[in-house]
């Protein structure tokens, strides 16, 4: 049994398996991610990177094993409390997942509205986070009128606005050019420096090389412990 009172880890996985029907997506994953860690989960396509992230915010449930998020055992989270769990995360997707008929401001404010925050606070926080990602002057624009890089900056703003403990980014630069990818990664590094745990799933070795950080390597659903690497942002790991 995992010690639920573990203080230093924000995420713990213990012998986690996940199957899609008869297909095994994740096999016996045990890992520990401390607070304020900056982690890349990498591996080839189909290795289970996205599935692993989905298990964390309960978009998928584990087939076997246990997952602890900030001391909360996910197998014991009732359906009604899943929204509370998800508010611990800021999630960034490769396809941005912005609501097309809502403005940039409304897309970002949605997180705080869903959390029942007051209007005045919402205005203040959304403007502040849009300023941080450099989208303050586009707050009335609709997502489809923005470039890919701008849309992803809005998605980052949405992920940050609720002051989450953990940022999960699933291929956040997968659809972006180098310059836009650089801006997004700089934003994520800034967030990490301010104390947030950042977990990025990517197969982009160049991105990991440029950014640096701890790397977890997944291969055919298994965590390849031989490839655990810890590096600073500035150093190459490949």
């Amino acid at each position: 049994m995992i010690d639920a009172n573990e203080k230093s880890s924000v995420i713990r996985m213990f012998h986690v398996h996940h199957n899609y029907g008869i297909q095994k997506a994740l096999i016996d994953i045990t890992l520990d991610i401390p607070k304020n860690d900056f982690v890349f989960i990498t591996g080839p396509s189909g290795a289970g990177k996205t599935t692993l992230l989905k298990l964390l915010y309960l978009a998928e449930a584990v087939t076997e094993g246990q997952v602890l998020i900030d001391g909360m055992n996910l197998s014991r989270v009732p359906r009604k409390r899943i929204p509370l769990l998800r508010r611990k995360f800021g999630i960034i997707f490769q396809d941005y997942k912005l609501i097309a008929n809502r403005t940039v401001f409304d897309n970002v404010s949605l997180v705080l509205e869903a959390a029942g925050k007051k209007r005045r606070l919402i205005l203040k926080k959304v403007r502040s986070v849009l300023r941080l990602v450099g989208m303050e002057d586009r707050q009335t624009a609709l997502p489809l009128s923005l470039s890919g890089g701008e849309q992803q900056r809005v998605a980052v703003a949405r992920a940050l606005v609720g002051d989450p403990k953990i940022i999960l980014a699933d291929e956040p630069t997968g659809s972006l050019d180098d310059d836009s990818a650089g801006i997004i990664m700089d934003l994520l590094k800034d967030v990490h420096i301010r104390g947030t745990t950042v977990i990025i799933a990517t197969h982009d070795k160049d991105l990991i090389r440029k950014t640096g950080g701890r790397v977890l390597f997944l291969k055919e659903g298994r965590l390849d412990t031989s490839s655990f690497v810890e590096k600073d942002y500035d150093n190459s790991i490949f």
Binding site: R86, L110, A114
Partner: protein, 293 residues
């Protein structure tokens, strides 16, 4: 937060304009049909009550009944269930009344060598006894008395009309139920289509930590607004039709006989509330089915 939910509901309405307009028209039409029935029912009931108020049983007596027996008979009729008053009309009084009513044909009476009219009791019913069956039962009881020659109790057509009206009421209830269910299912389907068109948005809301309540409330508000708005449109159309018909009736054959009324504010309120309930129920059914995943 409530303002935000209303804002979202109205935004959804605007974004799915065609779908919502079709639903609104369907609800309006259902409300129009149901409230037209209610209006007809209320006014017909009023007219029938008006007719029934003048309803009396006339018991024509055999000739030469002694005064003491008359008093006794009157007392016994008075004790029958449902009788409000019993007035004796002697044949002389009846003759005088008839002559007074037929002043222009007074010559007809000159050829009569004796008064052909019988003595009679005019029996009025208490308000609770104005159902046709009770009047009929009372008349049969009075007619069974030896002193009574004949009993007349209003127009036979009124009885038949009452039966037709009862049948119509029953049909009306069935129609109301069918329209209620149809409106609920149409509303449920519209909301379902709206939810389907917004499934990505709902998924995103869930991913950013929105509770089910936060997602559902705008849909409930949308259903309630559609119900209220649909009812108002349906009732407005009915009111225009009513004004047109009322002016024709007042000028026509029934002029001055009775005053037809529009639905009272209480009824209007009840119809709007029921329509809102239809909207809410439609939203509830579709949300229950669609968001269970």
């Amino acid at each position: 937060m409530t303002i935000l939910f209303f804002k979202r509901a109205i935004e959804d309405f605007r974004n799915n304009r065609l779908l919502n307009v079709v639903t609104l028209l369907t609800v309006s039409l259902s409300i129009l049909i149901v409230s037209a029935f209610v209006l007809f029912f209320i006014n017909t009931s009023e007219i029938m009550n008006f007719w029934k108020k003048g309803l009396r049983v006339m018991a024509y007596l055999k000739a030469d009944i002694p005064g003491s027996e008359l008093l006794d008979l009157r007392r016994q009729i008075q004790t029958l269930s449902g009788v409000e008053s019993v007035i004796f009309i002697s044949k002389d009084d009846a003759y005088k009344q008839l002559k007074a009513q037929m002043k222009r044909q007074a010559s007809l009476f000159d050829n009569l060598d004796k008064n052909p009219l019988p003595d009679a009791f005019e029996i009025r019913m208490s308000p609770s006894t104005r159902s046709w069956e009770k009047v009929e039962f009372l008349a049969t009881q009075i007619e069974s008395r030896d002193e009574v020659e004949e009993v007349e109790y209003g127009q036979k057509w009124l009885g038949r009309f009452t039966q037709i009206f009862d049948l119509f009421t029953l049909t009306g209830y069935a129609m109301c139920t069918i329209f209620f269910m149809a409106a609920v299912f149409i509303m449920a389907n519209t909301i379902r289509l709206v939810i389907y068109s917004r499934r990505d948005e709902i998924e995103i809301m869930r991913l950013v930590g929105a509770a089910e309540r936060f997602i559902k409330i705008p849909f409930y508000i949308q259903g309630l607004l559609q119900g209220a708005l649909g009812a108002c449109i349906g009732l407005a159309i009915l009111f225009v039709a009513f004004l047109f018909m009322a002016s024709n009736i007042e000028r026509g054959f029934f002029s001055g006989l009775f005053n037809i009324q529009f639905l009272s504010p209480l009824f209007l309120g009840i119809i709007i509330l029921i329509s809102m309930l239809v909207g809410w129920l439609g939203s509830y059914l579709s949300l229950k089915q669609f968001l269970k995943g």
